[in-house]
Structure formats: C-alpha cells, structure tokens
Subunit: 235 residues, 2 copies
C-alpha cells in the first residue's frame, strides 16, 4: 500500500489525470489547507475527484497518524499547488523513507512557476521569501535581507504573504521595512489569483490596488531584461 | 476563439483535467518538443488526450502562424512541464497581447519545482542556469558565474543541461569549468527522470553514474540546512 502526496495545482480542476486515477483507488483522501488560501471550495475539488475529502488540521498533519495508515491501505494527501513546495511536506516524505512506508509524489503547478505569467524569466528568480503578520511588539523584517541578497546578484524576489495578512497591511509592512532597511524599489509586481483568474499589477507600491481576490503574492523585480520590461508594460 | 498554452507536466498522464477538457474542444493540438527531452512518446500523450497531436519544428513555433489561426478557431500548444518556463513561450503570450489574440495559460508541474524531491527547500534555490554543448573552439562557461552568484548568497543552483549533451560529457565539462573558475564544490545532486521515475544521486562529481535515463539535471548545493542534509542522506 502507498502514501500518495498529490499536488492539486492552482484551481479546482487542475488535478492531473494520473492523480485522478490514483485518488480513485485510495481508501482515504485528505486535504491540507492550513498553509494556503484556497481560491475555491473543497466541494469543487470533491466534484473533480468524485470522492469525499477529509480536511486535516495542522496537528493532524504533524502527528502523521495518517502516514502509518498507508502501511495497510492507499492514502492520499492533497496539497495546494505543487506537492513539495512547503517544508512540512518534505518532512512527510523523509519520514516515509525513515519508516519504510511506500510513497509516491505527484507534482502539479505551483505559484513558484505560475508567476511566469508576469513575463519574468523564471531562471532569474532568486531565493523566495515570505512576510509574516506583524504584531505591536513583533515586527520581523528578515525578508528584506533576502531581497538585498537577491538584488546583489540582480535576481527577482518572490515575496509570499502570510495568509492571515490583508493586502493593505501587507503593503504598509513592506513600505516600512524597505524604508527602514534602505532598499530602493521602483515598481513592484502584485499577482492575484494566479492560475485561476490571474490578474497582474505592475506599479509603485502606493499605486497598487488595496483589495484584490486572494491568494496573492508580490514580486520585487531585480534587474529587468528588456523582454521582461516589454511584457510587464503590455499586461 | 482562443490560443491555449498548455503545460503537459512531467509524464504522459500528468495533463490536468482542465487541460483535457480544453483539448477536447480544440480544432488543432500542437506539441513543441525541440527544447526538451521528452521522457515518453507522443503516442502516449495522444492516448491521454484522445486526440491527434501535430509536432511543430522550431521554425514553425517561431513563425507563429498557428497563433493567427487562433483568431478563428481554438488552438492548443502543448509544452513539456510548465507552460511558461521557457522564454520562447512567454514571447508567444506577449505576441498574443500585441495582436489581441485571446489566450489562456494552463500551468502544470515543472522541473523547477519537481527538484523538491531532492529534499532541497525550493525557497533556497537561486538563479537557474544551463550548460551548452562545447565544441573544440567554443567552450562557454558562463554558468559558473551564476553558480558563484548563488553561492555568494548561500543559494542552490539548478543546472539544466543541453539536451544534446550526454552525461559523461556534461560531467567533464562541469569539472573543467569549476576548476578553471576556482569554484569548490563538494557533493553534487544529479536527478534523472524527475516526476516520471525519479532517481536522485548525491555524490562527488567523479562518483556520480555515467549513464542514467533522460531527462536529467544537476544541482550545485549552496548552504545546506540540516533538514536538507538529512533528506539527501536518506535518498
């Protein structure tokens, strides 16, 4: 029996043909939905799979009880986007290796490549970073360090944003962090709902919209090739 | 009518449910296969799609005649992996925007994220680079510049390899380039057939195998987190 870690891709119908065939033969299908903002309902995914899906809470994923079940029956865990983009999911596979549980990874589209819809060349992306939600006495801005590192080699930076953080607050946190760390940025790219109903904005931080459909992310461009510039201006 | 740029994902059955529905309503389905090593036959893809697929040569893709057809009928171009990972394909979308041809991008799994099967954390990947096939009087090694840039910020480097280049030659080109540019690398990651029948090797350049199933790629690790190290040692 096997543990299948399956990427759902970016929308309710982007599961692969291969994944659909596997899901059909699984005794239980789980969904991890606490690390991302799903841009669609679980029900729509169930309709695509033609199968009931059980949502797992963070503690349940981390307890890994469902992994042990895979010793006796076929079990699938669905993960938004690609199956291994988040560290938590690599841990699951590592633990399968350690516990000798048969496992298979089914890849799918990820935000990490869907950002190519901006016209940016993916091979010029540097390290990816993320912005947490600030509290009154806790304002971590280590993501600016990654932006600086990437800028030092002319690379673009994908900035993922805590799912609890609304766009208006994200913009003000970014503004404060860039100023404090003396990072000069002209225009920023803001992506909404990539792979579902993609909308892309390219403007100064102040001019970017305040409300857009989730999920969203930002890109701080590094050195732009003129093809990239041309694309951004045609969006 | 619409031009659909569709990622096939990594194997013959990784087309998405959404893509299969679109393909069904397309008048003509094309396949771009000159920039990559397909790890399966076109026939197998035709079986998944249940439709005839016409291969396009480089000149045909670049002439973009098929794009103009999309003004009158639904046309799909299938691309291995994700739809927009290669610069050529971004150009197609840019030209759709310029010519006002309706278009839609369908994402899928890509080698750029499937390398997560190595246990490396994708957010620590730096710029991607590629190694061309050397000729007697033409030995470009600019990919070493990217490796150096990534190493300066502790990032990993994905090194894509010209599809005409066999592994033995790729290894010797890499060895010569690293030595010439005084780049010290301990162990390298070699990936074969990711997403199809993945095999991953982690060893010194000399000890890596000489023949493995295509497609393959290499990763020059930057600074490894102990979780990444742990994963690599369990492979």
């Amino acid at each position: 029996m096997t543990f299948y870690l399956i990427g759902t891709g970016l929308n309710a119908e982007s599961l692969s043909w291969e994944a659909l065939k596997i899901i059909r033969k699984c005794k239980q299908v789980y969904l991890e939905n606490y690390t991302v903002d799903f841009p669609f309902e679980k029900k729509r995914l169930e309709r695509t799979c033609n199968k009931k899906i059980k949502e797992l809470q963070r503690e349940e994923v981390e307890s890994e009880e469902f992994l042990d079940k895979a010793k006796k029956e076929n079990i699938a865990l669905l993960v938004y986007g690609d199956s291994l983009s988040a560290t938590t999911h690599s841990e699951l596979i590592l633990n399968c290796m350690k516990k000798k549980i048969p496992h298979q990874v089914i890849h799918n589209a990820s935000i990490l490549t869907a950002i190519s819809e901006t016209g940016l060349q993916l091979y010029k992306l540097g390290k990816t970073t993320s912005m947490p939600t600030w509290k009154d006495n806790w304002k971590p801005d280590s993501f600016t360090e990654i932006i600086k590192q990437n800028q030092s080699i002319g690379a673009h930076t994908l900035l993922l944003i805590d799912i609890a953080l609304d766009l208006e607050k994200a913009k003000s946190q970014l503004k404060e962090s860039l100023e404090k760390n003396k990072i000069e940025v002209e225009k920023i790219i803001l992506c909404s709902n990539l792979g579902v109903k993609s909308r892309i904005y390219y403007d100064n931080l102040e001019n970017l919209p305040l409300r857009i459909p989730k999920p969203y992310c930002m890109i701080i461009p590094g050195k732009l090739h003129f093809h990239e510039q041309d694309f951004l201006e045609h969006l």
